[in-house]
């Protein structure tokens, strides 16, 4: 099957620093690709390049049969087909939740207001925010804001959804209420590229995991293999940084001690 998105050998630098150094990536319809890696590896920049928030220096990006990497002013049409949600929610603070949701579909897509409103009510209900339609964003918790941001993106019916560390700013107890929404979307067949630091979520939702380091995709694989048995030393070290070991809790039996302890 032809991929929805093709990223071909893209390069992007900021002030002489090569943030992306030849990244290629295909995403198929209905596929969930999770991108992980240490901070500064270029994973957020990759997402931002895909929908044109950053201009690439070299390479090509295709959405189905259209090259979208050099559209300039016409990029807004493509962005109507690619959704994106950020770490900082970025709800519009001067609009009620419902107006946040209606803006894109009504103004950009020119859909009838009543139709979108009915759909928005239904979607808010599904993410547990039925009573918040008339609330101002500042009255919501972080987890609620991020669910609204997800609904706002989904109401555009994007062909591809980009999620850029959407739980990174949340208190721990709010992470799962947001990620459960994402897992629902995955089950409904939404095509997604997700940057995250939540490894267990990545394992649960991904069809494919990309490990990025220093501007390149260093390893790629299905989650079952990647998380159990990463092939590269760099990925192994990165995954280890998410586990903790304390000497206090080590077994007393010297046979159980690691050699270098």
């Amino acid at each position: 099957m032809e991929p929805i998105l093709r990223v071909k050998e893209i390069y992007k630098g900021f002030d002489g620093n090569g943030v992306l150094q030849g990244v290629s990536l295909d995403i198929r319809e209905g596929e969930v690709v999770v991108i992980i890696g240490p901070s500064g590896c270029g994973k957020s920049t990759l997402l931002r390049c895909i929908n044109g928030l950053e201009k690439i220096d070299r390479g090509e990006i295709w959405l189905r049969d259209q090259r979208i990497s050099d559209l300039g002013k016409d990029m807004y049409r493509v962005r109507q087909r690619i959704g994106m949600v950020f770490q900082s929610y970025d709800l519009f603070p001067h609009m009620k939740v419902m107006d946040n949701l209606l803006l894109g579909p009504v103004k950009a897509l020119k859909k009838p207001r009543e139709e979108v409103e009915a759909e928005a009510v239904e979607m808010l209900r599904r993410v547990g925010l039925a009573d918040k339609a008339q609330a101002l964003p500042r009255t919501l918790s972080g987890g609620q804001k991020q669910r609204v941001a997800l609904v706002r993106a989904m109401l555009m019916h994007p062909e591809l959804l980009l999620l850029d560390e959407i739980t990174a700013a949340l208190d721990p107890e709010m992470v799962s209420e947001v990620l459960n929404v994402v897992i629902d979307l995955a089950e409904q067949g939404m095509t997604m590229a997700i940057v995250t630091h939540e490894m267990r979520f990545a394992e649960a939702v991904a069809d494919r995991v990309l490990f990025m380091e220093q501007g390149v995709i260093a390893e790629e694989g299905v989650p079952e293999e990647f998380f159990r048995e990463p092939r590269t030393e760099r990925a192994r070290r990165f995954l280890q940084s998410f586990t903790y070991a304390s000497a206090r809790k080590r077994p007393r039996d010297p046979a159980g001690m690691p050699e270098d302890a």
Partner: protein, 223 residues
């Protein structure tokens, strides 16, 4: 204080106030439009025009209104452009005020997080839709105090219109003073007249500022 003198000249001052207010508000309105355009040219880094806007702002801010008015009224006729005093007044005030308004709008726009603009772009809004629905409403909320300060400043600057021989408040007072000599009464009425014009604007500014603060948007941001 000669209250009878004051009472008998209230109609003169009212006529002067009307001139001040009419041409002042005309100039202020045009200045806001010009300022907004200049500010957007700079914010969106429109090639060439952003430089022109920058140059204009510095020119207008760093020359006195008096000089600008003389240039329009006495200088332009030398090159064959003859404008009425009223046109000169409105153009001059617009020229001066546009620069101040541009800076006020800029302070507002710059207070809106860049990510707000990106969030709008991600919804596939055109640049103009983004300005209209997302950037400007938030920018205005922040810029309101600065904008109102400019309005008051510009209305006071209309006192320069008297050099164009327009019968604004300043000129009414000047004429009365030089003919009748009741300096204290004349100046007292002049100050009172400006106060009567501008105090409501000040109060309106306070009200708008408070309302927008309660609405909870503008430069305060909770993440």
């Amino acid at each position: 204080m000669d209250w009878e003198f004051i009472g008998s000249h209230i109609p003169d001052y009212a006529a002067g106030a009307w001139v001040t207010l009419r041409f002042g508000l005309c100039g202020v309105g045009c200045a806001m439009a010009l300022g907004l355009i200049c500010c957007l040219l700079r914010y969106f880094r429109v090639p060439v025009l952003k430089g022109a806007a920058r140059g204009y702002i510095e020119l207008a801010r760093n020359t006195p209104l008096l000089v600008q008015l003389f240039f329009l009224y006495a200088g332009l006729p030398r090159v064959g452009i003859r404008l009425s005093a009223e046109a000169c007044a409105v153009i001059g005030l617009t020229f001066l005020g546009g620069a101040y308004m541009a800076e006020a709008f800029r302070s507002g726009l710059e207070s809106v997080e860049k990510s707000q603009r990106e969030a709008g772009e991600c919804l596939g809004l055109t640049r103009w839709q983004n300005i209209r629905y997302i950037l400007l409403p938030q920018a205005l909320a922040t810029a309101v105090p600065a904008l109102f300060a400019n309005v008051i400043f510009l209305i006071k600057e209309t006192s320069m219109f008297s050099v164009l021989a327009m019968m604004d408040l300043m000129n009414v007072a000047d004429t009365l003073r030089t003919s009748g000599g009741r300096t204290v009464e004349v100046l007292f009425m002049l100050a009172a007249a400006y106060l009567a014009l501008l105090l409501p604007v000040s109060l309106l500014a306070n009200l708008a500022e408070r309302r927008l603060r309660y609405a909870g948007f503008g430069n305060q941001r909770s993440v």
